[in-house]
């Protein structure tokens, strides 16, 4: 089997069998790409995890692009990334065709009224897990607290400020604090 096809199929398999996304995918990617196919080393895998934390997008997609590119250039990157996304694309596309009618069935609508209550808990839990893993520097904690307060106020009062604006302000704050710290070092 040629390598491009192999990349595509391997990542399609990974995409098909990982639920929930995010870090749940790492063991499966590691098993396939490090242990079995030996496309990358364990150290490189750790490396991608670190890169993923600083770049946008799901870690699974980041891994697929990285491994695909290392193995077979741009073509490999495209094959692996499309492979990764294809199973969820097909499944969700099918669901989108009948979900509305499905939700008209009374007991299913009731089930979703229950499910709705779980989703907020899951999202809050994702934030709690991230806080636990975050280095507790005063600057980081202050930014998290301010972002939380700002986002709550924006949602409650329906202010037209998006989360992207908040992220840009946070980036700018990071740069200003860095400049001030550098200035102080210069003085000393």
């Amino acid at each position: 089997m040629n390598l491009t096809m192999n990349l595509f199929l391997t990542f399609a398999k990974i995409g098909l069998f990982t639920f929930g996304g995010g870090y749940a995918m790492i063991p499966l990617i590691e098993d396939n790409c490090v242990t079995r196919k030996q496309w990358i080393s364990h150290d490189e895998m750790m490396n991608i995890t670190v890169i993923s934390e600083s770049t946008p997008g799901p870690i699974a997609i980041n891994c697929a692009t990285y491994i695909g590119y290392k193995q077979k250039g741009i073509g490999g990157a495209i094959a692996a990334t499309i492979g990764m996304a294809l199973p969820s694309f097909c499944i969700i596309f099918l669901i989108s065709l009948f979900l509305d009618r499905f939700l008209e069935i009374r007991w299913i609508a009731n089930a979703f009224r229950g499910i709705k209550l779980a989703v907020g808990i899951l999202i809050l839990d994702a934030a709690i897990r991230m806080i636990r893993k975050m280095p507790k520097k005063p600057f980081s904690v202050a930014i998290t607290a301010c972002a939380f307060a700002a986002m709550m106020l924006i949602s409650i009062f329906s202010v037209r400020i998006t989360s992207i604006t908040l992220m840009l302000i946070a980036a700018l704050t990071g740069l200003i604090v860095f400049q001030i710290a550098k200035g102080k070092e210069g003085d000393a």
């Binding site: 997008g57 999202i123 806080i131 972002a147 992220m167």
Partner: protein, 188 residues
């Protein structure tokens, strides 16, 4: 026009979805609510569906919104748009051998963005919970049934971690919530 909006909307999501997993939820919420593509209830339903089907949540949501707004073409555009920024970013980083990420200014900006994302996710989860347990939020009265079900779900989800190390999975919580919905709202 709608297709162009899908392209721009999901490029924005893809470009700012730092942190993976649920990190994209606040961004997608901003975009779909502002264009009126989904209402809050349908968005919450789809987050639960995305969690229960394979693949990254961000891709699942993009495919669903694209499909409901523009059929198969819409689904393709939204899904590719949400992947593209992270795809390009990883290629740039691989080619530059991570030099970009070691740049102190980029590090400084990221030191602000990362904790900000955590605050945004936390506030989104919290706001969704409040929206569901009050008849209207802000301003409504508490919905006793929703409040009770939410409390029970939270105790089950967080309490299960005291019993087994990993606790129950998000998919299991969604299953329990669905069952609770069928029982509680069915009997009513």
């Amino acid at each position: 026009m709608n297709l162009l909006n899908l392209l721009i909307g999901f490029l924005k999501v893809g470009l700012f979805a730092f942190g993976g997993g649920y990190a994209a939820v606040p961004l997608i919420r901003d975009v779909v609510l502002s264009y009126g593509w989904l209402d809050q209830d349908m968005l919450t339903n789809m987050i639960a569906v995305s969690e229960s089907t394979p693949g990254p949540i961000m891709i699942n949501l993009a495919t669903y919104v694209g499909s409901t707004q523009g059929g198969i073409i819409g689904a393709l555009i939204a899904t590719l748009a949400v992947i593209l920024p992270s795809f390009i970013m990883i290629l740039i980083i691989v080619v530059l051998e991570k030099k970009l990420l070691k740049n102190p200014y980029i590090q400084a900006a990221l030191s602000g963005v990362k904790p900000c994302v955590i605050g945004i996710i936390g506030a989104t989860g919290m706001y969704m919970i409040l929206q569901h347990v009050f008849t209207a939020f802000p301003g409504g009265t508490a919905d006793a049934i929703a409040l009770a079900v939410t409390a029970v779900l939270a105790v089950i989800y967080f309490g299960s971690r005291k019993i087994t190390k990993k606790g129950i999975s998000p998919v299991a919580l969604i299953g329990i919530a669905a069952l609770a919905g069928v029982l509680v709202y069915g009997i009513q």
